[in-house]
Symmetry: C2
Subunit: 203 residues, 2 copies
Amino acid sequence: MKKNKSAEEKIKEAARLVFTQKGYAATRTRDIAEASGVNLALLNYYFKSKENLFDIVMLENIKVFSQSVLAILNNPGTTFFEKIEILVGHYIDMMIENPEMPIFFLSELKGNPKKLFSKIDHRSKFKESIMVQQWKELIKTNKRSAFNPQHIILNTISMIIFPFIANPMIRNRTGMSQEEFNTMMLERKKLVPVWIINMIQNN
Amino acid sequence: MKKNKSAEEKIKEAARLVFTQKGYAATRTRDIAEASGVNLALLNYYFKSKENLFDIVMLENIKVFSQSVLAILNNPGTTFFEKIEILVGHYIDMMIENPEMPIFFLSELKGNPKKLFSKIDHRSKFKESIMVQQWKELIKTNKRSAFNPQHIILNTISMIIFPFIANPMIRNRTGMSQEEFNTMMLERKKLVPVWIINMIQNN
DNA sequence: GTCTATATACGGATAGAC
DNA sequence: GTCTATCCGTATATAGAC
């Protein structure tokens, strides 16, 4: 607790970055030490092991992310369809800022299905959210067949996240620059909600 | 070249499996040797290094996959919309058989953008395919605005592949079994083409 | 071609000086 | 708290017998 920006914080910062870029196994603690500008031994002084550091950083990530999404779901001032637009925009903005995040997250989770998940389970908070209430209201008043919304949710998330996962491949095959890719993704902030709402209404 | 099923082939078989399950960095050559039932030293005898073995196996994978897709694209006996259905079914069946494949493929590619891609570039074959011809015919006769089909292609692939990438997370959060997940994916063989065709026609 | 034994390198972690 | 030096396990790769 000496420097103004504590070494501990600098390590976490760097770890977040390097882990997401290279994945857990391919990351060397030396990489993190180097990237954060602190000595390798400090890393084990503050966090006792690589694995421990990983868990801590990831839990923080997930927490921050969940909070931001739940805040949108529980905003009483927006309609169901407005929430879709806001969520889509929120996700896309977030991915543009952290392009490596989704693929990293999903590939690491395959290995540790239990550890990270068990700690933070927001399923109940999601089910009790205002957005879910609004959805129930919607299918009631519209007398629509009780369509299984899982497909719709899945489609939404798919159309948002997958392009970022496939980013390197897309750029390679189309010859797009990163700039052009981002522009395309920003276009989708308007397009995805339209597609989704069509799916719901043609259901 | 002694055994009926050559050791070389057994190693490649096992390597394909272990690499896709654990990723390149987390895979130990010992794992591969063990899984294939051959001695560790043999692995370096046939393929001189872990990296080399990886490249060989992956190139084969990509080749097989590309061939199967191009065959569908170039079938003159099916219409454009039939091809969509067939492609969707083909992809989903393939993913159900090899559930680890997409996430592995995409996460490894992020590291080596160049090597694997440069070898096999089917972009021109794709552009000259019958399916692309049929698409051009379609937008001409329908007098539709020359809609950028990139979004549509991206959406299709997203809705097919992403669920498999997110499989562990989906099962965790919904409590679904692998069986139920697969059933859901089979449902999508019919649903995805409908959604896509709607997108094209509402365009 | 296939094995055992081993060289060699690398990476996580710690001891101990400051 | 921060550094240098080092230990030690593990993983790739090879030498050499059969």
